[in-house]
């Protein structure tokens, strides 16, 4: 039953597409793009060879794309050119680039079990650098700045006068929300931190506080949930827009 509905819809769409009489307008590239789009969409019916084929082509293409980009945007300007230049001018500082070159090549030692351990040197240089950068990033961007940003007055001074001025109805509702803003930010962070505290059993008073922490977490997860739905739907709209405007030309 479902199968027939689906086939019917697909046929109807195709007839619609042909009838709209704009198919000739799309370029060859757009046709390829549209076919590949439909190939991936076919996964919605079920996992099938056309989808699998398109998926593997995509993985191959993207890997190949990255190689070319690394070559032209990193290797050529940041390694080959300065190296050649320093060979020509015999500048020792430029020759220092031989070190990362060698470390980069050492990564490929992984493919040869006997010398595989050599690739650790390069891994260590990379992992060490990024670990260091992650430390200072988390420290200055997240830890310190976020603690500082939560040191706010428990009641924002303007909010109470706002409440008095509010005329009722919606305005009164939002004035109350404004009064609650600072206290909820201060308390919300504290109770969330309590939930992620592992050195005491969460029972009694601590248990109650940590339960409030869970509520805050759940509200934030609900917000993320809504936003994620939004994100995915936008991506679908983008694809449908491509099919209907670039390919079929039925919308502008």
């Amino acid at each position: 039953m479902t199968k027939y509905i689906l086939i019917g819809v697909v046929i109807a769409l195709m007839v619609f597409a042909v009838a709209s009489g704009r198919l000739s307008g799309a370029s060859f590239g757009t046709w390829i793009a549209a076919m590949l789009t439909l190939a991936i969409f076919s996964f919605l019916y079920k996992d099938n060879p056309i989808y699998k084929f398109a998926e593997h082509i995509f993985i191959g293409l993207s890997a190949g794309y990255f190689v070319a980009l690394e070559y032209w945007n990193v290797f050529v300007p940041n390694l080959w050119n300065p190296l050649l230049e320093s060979f020509r001018t015999v500048s020792p500082s430029g020759l220092m680039l031989l070190v990362p070159f060698a470390l980069g090549l050492l990564l490929f030692a992984r493919f040869f079990p006997k010398i595989a351990w050599l690739s650790r040197w390069s891994m260590a240089a990379m992992i060490g650098s990024y670990a260091g950068l992650a430390i200072i990033g988390a420290l200055q961007g997240d830890l310190l700045a976020q603690i500082r940003a939560n040191m706010i007055p428990f009641l924002s001074p303007g909010s109470l006068t706002g409440l008095k001025a509010a005329a009722g109805g919606n305005a009164f509702f939002f004035a109350i929300l404004e009064v609650l803003r600072n206290p909820l930010i201060v308390i919300g962070l504290l109770v969330t931190l309590v939930y992620f505290f592992f050195s005491r059993e969460h029972k009694g008073g601590l248990g109650a506080v940590s339960r409030v922490g869970v509520w805050f977490l759940m509200i934030s997860f609900g917000a993320s949930f809504g936003y994620t739905v939004m994100s995915r739907v936008s991506l679908l709209i983008g694809r449908l827009h491509f099919l209907m405007s670039d390919w079929l030309g039925i919308i502008h």
């Binding site: 990193v74 940041n78 050119n81 650098s129 950068l133 997240d142 936003y227």
Partner: protein
Amino acid sequence: MAERKTEERSLLTKLSQIDRRILFLLIFACATIPLLLGAGLRMSVTAPVQGLYDAIDGLEAGSYVWLAADYDPGSKPELSPMNYAIVEHLFRKDIKVISGSLWAPAPPLAQAVFDEMAPRHGKQYGVDYVNLGFKEGREAVMVSIAEDLRRTFPEDHSGTPLDSIPMLEGISNLQDVEMIICVSAGYPGIKEWIQQIATRYDTAIGGGVTAVSGPEMYPYIQSGQLVGLLSGMKGAAEYEQLVERPGLGIAGMVAQSSVHVMVVIFIIFANIVYFLEKRRAR
């Protein structure tokens, strides 16, 4: 009576185990039909979007921004409209744009935005904007260009040495730009720009993210580390409305609304069925 009850129950079970492909068709219809009808909706502008608009609007003509295009085709429908709307605003304000990417698939996407917008505003490559292309190295690149741009980006995307690009003459590092605007699909992206650059080099940062990471950015907005933020296609649509340049963002909003309503109906309906079933079971 008992017979009717079992019938109802089987209907409930049937409804709760409906073939997902029927749901897929409903979603497909909800997204397609509004796009075909093509009506625009006015919307109110949220504070983080207004924040970015005001920050860009406050820049002086002739100042520089670093436009970090850190996204890929996987989130193009959300982020490309932002990129268009932001570049529209920047070009209108005669601000010079330096674009670079930490995501390899980004440079052609960023280039497409410039290719469309530059002729419209009479902007010239190398004088008003430049696309430096992709650089591998995530946070290492961020900190590097904050100290020395040419060491990390000796050439632009098409291989022209930076020293022969006129607009970059007085620019030696990121401390020379007024603001970093990051259009960000994930890691590395706007979070890392904030962590590595915002406080260390005291640079204003704003931008746009996919809706998935939007909620995680709110602490940075409250702390002032982000001057403004566009989240997802809705953020893009609000910005399009502010700069009065309707694009895919606004075009998609009716479809977005109708699919959201459908998903909300799904959740509510399914939970009603769930409660009825649970009550029956008791």
